[in-house]
């Protein structure tokens, strides 16, 4: 396609996503552990139990290593004079254009995990849609918020 947007999000996002991945896999361990126990108690065929364990391992690997990595690699954005471009997606590559004139307001947002790693998420709202750039360095996010609202104010059109 056309050249990709240039700016990447913070490398620390990877850490945050891995932690989230670990939490997600913990659930799979709990459910999987319960199933394995049941299997041992009720004499399920051995291959079933082994398959189950392999499945859980694959699941954990995907959510803690593979997906965050791929997601981070794909995540790019670019703020230009008249528009913002965002690219993301693990299975499906999505690229979105948001013209500055359509931006209504910009917010930054930060959960506990993001705060710990000094990151924050920027949310760009138009009259009909909301777009998110996750996990930027805090000053970078603040700077982005400021520059978008400056550029958006310059271009003042009716809805």
């Amino acid at each position: 396609m056309v050249p990709e947007p240039q700016t990447r999000i913070s490398k620390r996002a990877l850490v945050v996503w891995r932690i989230t991945g670990v939490i997600t896999s913990l659930f799979s361990w709990i459910v999987g552990g319960a199933l394995v126990t049941l299997g041992v108690l009720f004499d399920w065929p051995v291959w079933m139990i082994i398959a189950l364990i392999i499945l859980i391992l694959i699941f954990s690997y995907l959510f803690t290593f593979f997906f965050p990595k791929l997601r981070w690699k794909r995540w790019r954005y670019e703020v230009r004079e008249q528009e913002i471009e965002i690219q993301r997606g693990v299975f499906i590559m999505k690229r979105t254009l948001i013209p500055m004139v359509r931006v209504q307001h910009v917010d930054t947002q930060q959960g506990p995990l993001l705060r710990k790693y000094q990151l924050s998420t920027v949310m760009i709202s138009t009259a009909a849609t909301v777009h998110e750039i996750p996990a930027l360095e805090m000053d970078e996010a603040e700077e982005l918020r400021r520059s978008i609202s400056r550029l958006a104010r310059v271009a003042d059109e009716d809805v």
Binding site: M1, V2, P3, R80, E83, M93, R102, A127, V159
Partner: protein, 480 residues
């Protein structure tokens, strides 16, 4: 028009009736419970007091409610205990929605709903004058028009500009009938299917087949299907009548810079859509109307509050011959490209369309066939239906760029053609899955504002070069 005015007294009654409607359950409860015991006198008193209270508050709040036009504002003051004032500058008014209700009509009154620019999701986005005389409503309307005009014109020019009014479209009786009878959508289809099976009932000699044992059940089946069929028929007739009453006398006019819709038999409604607020135009072709070569046209508008969803997607041409759409609307919605050259999808997209439909239907059909032999095999017909439907989706999908407009065409159940001006598109997204990428296909999605949320269009599996073209057409920074 600067003296404070009250609404017509009938407004008090309308408000009381509305309150009574809300109170009807508690009152019924009280009377039922009350009539059982010995203390029924007490309950009747309670109900009586309640009624009197409703009556009093109705009259008092009517008495307290005044409105006036002052200093270019519509000023409303109301409130029983707490005095509330709402001053609405005329420039802020988005539209006046004038309704002639059944109760207002005998007195030559109308209900006026004033809609201001959305934003807030509360009811604060609007003010309602429940019952005022028609002349006053039109005075307010004229005043609104003149305020908006004077804003546009040079401020020194004092004389009123003659208002230009032209009728764009009127719904004929024949079309009204067709509109009403095809608007049930699914209902029509279901009753048609039931009717179809009902006929089978007569061809297949059920009673001979199940002669002895199943005789009773067979009778039951016939009886049930008759009842179900009649039920659907009745629902359909009711919906037909409802639609006819709602859309009778449908007229679309252009007055100055607004589109005005009037419609309704018992309750006359008038809706105003400022041309400026139009975000997109949507042409919908229902499967049932396609054989008649007819479709409907909607306008996606930025107006309308959260409470009034009707204000955001407005049906402007309920039923119209397809080839007449351009002729009818072109003079009024200049620039909109009603006839553009569509690019369709490449043949290699067809398998993806067919696959997407079948992937859901086949497992379902297989399961049904397996568990409900032999009749379950009928469900295999769904696969055929899904293939036909997917092929239709493929055939109808397409896109066009015409100067400043993006036109997307796609089918869900109805075929949609959405015309969007570049300026009004809020965001544009291109997407590509792994498998799409392999086939050099991509999906495009454009979002426009519609009321408080988004609407727009999404077309799957375009040639990826085309998606890049659309993407670059929309991009404002020439970086590529």
């Amino acid at each position: 028009m600067s003296d404070p005015k009250r609404l017509h007294p009938i407004a008090a009654m309308i408000n009381m009736l509305r309150q009574l409607k809300e109170l009807i359950v508690p009152i019924l409860f009280f009377t039922v419970v009350g009539s059982r015991g010995n203390e029924n006198v007490f309950y009747f008193i309670a109900v009586g007091v309640g009624l009197v209270l409703v009556l009093l508050t109705g009259i008092l709040s009517w008495y307290r409610f005044t409105y006036r036009v002052e200093e270019g504002e519509l000023r409303i003051e109301h409130g029983l205990f707490v005095r509330k004032k709402r001053y609405i500058p005329f420039e802020r008014i988005q539209s006046l929605d004038i309704t002639e209700g059944i109760l207002q009509r005998p007195f030559g009154l109308v209900k006026v709903k004033v809609e201001t620019a959305g934003g807030s999701k509360t009811e604060n986005a609007e003010a309602v004058l429940t019952a005022i005389r028609k002349e006053e409503a039109s005075q307010i309307h004229d005043f609104l028009v003149s305020v908006k005009n004077s804003k546009r014109r040079d401020e020194f020019e004092e004389e009123a500009v003659p208002i230009q009014e032209s009728i764009i479209y009127r719904l004929s009786f024949g079309d009204l009938l067709l509109l009403a009878s095809t608007s049930g959508g699914v209902g029509v289809v279901i009753s048609a299917i039931v009717a179809f099976f009902f006929q089978f009932e007569e061809i297949i000699p059920y009673e001979k087949v199940y002669k002895e044992v199943e005789h009773f059940i067979a009778n039951g089946v016939i009886f049930v299907s008759i009842v179900v069929f009649l039920g659907f028929l009745l629902a359909w007739v009711i919906s037909v009548l409802g639609t006819m009453v709602k859309y009778a006398n449908f007229t679309l006019k252009k007055v100055d810079q607004d589109l005005i819709i009037t419609r309704g038999l018992l309750e006359k409604r008038q809706m105003t859509i400022p041309l400026k607020r139009i975000q997109a135009i949507r042409i919908s072709e229902n499967v049932l109307r396609q054989p008649f070569g007819r479709g409907s046209v909607y306008i996606e508008s930025a107006g309308g509050s959260a409470l009034n969803e009707e204000g955001s997607k407005v049906l402007v041409l309920p039923l119209i011959k397809k080839q007449d759409i351009a002729k009818t609307l072109e003079p009024f919605l200049e620039e909109y490209p009603f006839k553009s050259n569509f690019h369709t999808l490449p043949p290699r997209a067809l398998t993806r369309y067919l696959g997407r439909g079948v992937v859901i239907v086949i497992p379902v059909a297989v399961v049904i066939s397996y568990f409900f032999k032999p009749w379950g095999y009928v469900s295999l017909l769904f696969i055929l239906a899904s293939l036909i439907w997917s092929a239709l989706k493929y055939k109808d999908a397409g896109w066009a760029i015409d100067k400043d407009f993006l036109v997307l065409r796609y089918r869900t159940f109805v075929k949609n053609t959405v015309l969007m001006r570049k300026e009004k598109i809020q965001s544009l997204t291109a997407r590509k899955s792994f498998y799409q990428n392999k086939k050099r296909l991509a999906t495009i999605e454009a979002v426009v504002k519609s009321g408080h949320s988004g609407s727009g269009g999404r077309v799957k599996d375009l040639e990826d070069k085309d998606v890049i073209n659309i993407y670059q057409w929309y991009s404002r920074d020439a970086h590529h």
